[in-house]
Point group: C3
Chain length 281, copies 3
Amino acid sequence: MLKTDYLNKIRRQNPLIHNITNIVVANYVANGLLALRASPIMSSAVEEMDELAAICNALVINIGTLTADQVKAMLQAGKAANRQGIPVVLDPVGVGATRFRQHTVARLLAEVQFSAIRGNAGEMAYLANVTWQSKGVDAGQGSADLDDIANIIAQQHRCVAVISGATDVISDGTRLAKIHNGTPLFPRITGSGCLLSAVCGAFLAVADPADAFSALSEACSAYAIAGELAAQGLQPNQNGQFYTALLDQLAALQAGQVRQLAKLQLAELNPKGVNDEDEEV
Amino acid sequence: MLKTDYLNKIRRQNPLIHNITNIVVANYVANGLLALRASPIMSSAVEEMDELAAICNALVINIGTLTADQVKAMLQAGKAANRQGIPVVLDPVGVGATRFRQHTVARLLAEVQFSAIRGNAGEMAYLANVTWQSKGVDAGQGSADLDDIANIIAQQHRCVAVISGATDVISDGTRLAKIHNGTPLFPRITGSGCLLSAVCGAFLAVADPADAFSALSEACSAYAIAGELAAQGLQPNQNGQFYTALLDQLAALQAGQVRQLAKLQLAELNPKGVNDEDEEV
Amino acid sequence: MLKTDYLNKIRRQNPLIHNITNIVVANYVANGLLALRASPIMSSAVEEMDELAAICNALVINIGTLTADQVKAMLQAGKAANRQGIPVVLDPVGVGATRFRQHTVARLLAEVQFSAIRGNAGEMAYLANVTWQSKGVDAGQGSADLDDIANIIAQQHRCVAVISGATDVISDGTRLAKIHNGTPLFPRITGSGCLLSAVCGAFLAVADPADAFSALSEACSAYAIAGELAAQGLQPNQNGQFYTALLDQLAALQAGQVRQLAKLQLAELNPKGVNDEDEEV
């Protein structure tokens, strides 16, 4: 049962979200944040990372179309955000696919403290060092336990781990939330995961850091429910209509709808489900 | 009362508009120019700036996701456009937010002669050195007189200044136009200002340079009216639908509609409204 | 008469398509490939070109917003794709417009073996060294024979040449196909050509290399028919609606529809139609 109402806080405060993101989804992420009533700013220029950290309320780092210049900006921005005390979200798009992405994410995780890491099952399995068959930037297939993967990442990196998919799995290392909302149309459009990462940034921007787990549970619920509402009345192949309708629903979504429609399942962490070796890192 | 009909001239001549623009809005700007029947070309490669100036009918410089490489291209392109005698529009996205943007815009204004500068109130207040509370790339809030801001910029930089917002304010330093058309849905989507800057470029591309003030008054009226028509029948939260409908309306818009629906207010400049110190620069 | 059914093979195999593409269309190309049930990955980072070639099923190189860094990545990626034996598609966007584009395409053609080159009439006329009046990245106008242009390119570069337009012309140097499907709304939106190039990549990804001509005939037919279906019930100026509807139709398109609606005309090459000098190159 959702107890928070950060959605309305976003609408009152209009937090400014700095996105270092990819050329594929920059537009959709900006429109999605605006729909939610957050303010997007996109920049990958190392020259302005420090100043943006001083005026923004959250930072979202997305490696979807990574370049060497962007890596420098990400490190600079992440450290500046840590100094300013604003939340930082990592979206490790396609991290398993190439060493460039692997090394960049390893360095980011070593030098920046993230509040949240949000990825699909394949990306998160790679981060948890669990066998998985990824496919480029798509989730791919595997049989590992998603709860374990989320817990391992949360504990290793002292953050909230969010695995999005048919069921979203959220862990802060001691608690676990599962969100059974959503629609099969989400993976049919590009950027639905990237936009969720930015939405997570917007919710963290207005939340108490100690309440990150709850804020992200609400973020994922709200986003998945907006998707459900957008898919209503659409055929499974109306990708284009869904792309547009999701923006409408993010803009129109009411806190009451989220509370009413959320299929949220909470659990305490089962310690046996976690890889002990990884916990020590 | 609008006297010009550059809209139909755009449709007859299909001017080629070179945009040095940001990764967020490049797609929407291209689609918007195509809807208007102008031809977009996007490039930030310094290697081809001179040649593009020779074949294009206008240049639009937008600093939304500025990089060091882009700065070089902007300077090269701006000077080449000046040599070729084609109009140049500046969109100083989020200029106040960081020194990188401030310094880049200062250098552009020093080395390139712009035909028009189009920004929101916060961006234009920064350029006029007037106190304003900007918010990243969004307009923010302030109490300064927009007429003064527009006049200061027009006089300082010998160009037409366009402040877009609920009411658009246009000044060439001696005349002032206000456009009371538009819709609250404009700021709810990303790139609505960036696209207006490109639309200004398309109108200037087909206008006599001496008629820039009138051409931009028509450009802003046409764009705001397309937005009004797109918003008809939409709810205030249908961001996604509006994004799509604006392209439809830009494509379908007729000169007769613009003349009929334009709420245009013209005035001679009130010299007392202008900061004398700034005029001398 | 279409004999192949690669459309369903794409849907079964979900080939992974690496796109080195431009900031204008990256989003639309990704959404279009997803609609078709292919998996897009966009990257221009030279650091990961070799590894991506090893996991992807096709490479599409698009020079729409070319940068010097991208040129390096394109060459690296193209050679790696050749080593891996995966098909490579070239989209020479606006190649005639500047020397930077001309030199880059010349170098790509010299160092990479392409399976297909897809462009509009202006771009392809430039490649065939035939006089044409191009306009930036748009097709422009000319009176040269498109059959000849396609044949020249196919023979010179030992690939399939695809000229898209009101009628698509496809040549492998010995056979010629013309596709009389489509809609005037295609050139009214940005990226309709770029997305077709990516769609060609998806069809080649699942086809036997010896069957490239047939696979591309089906690709162009399927894409043009999706456009026809998307345009049904739309006005000629509903650019925005068409942009969305094309994604819906690419997702919903059935092989039976393609076979039924295709207006495909096949011919053996007329040797007299070809410039002999060019053949020797």
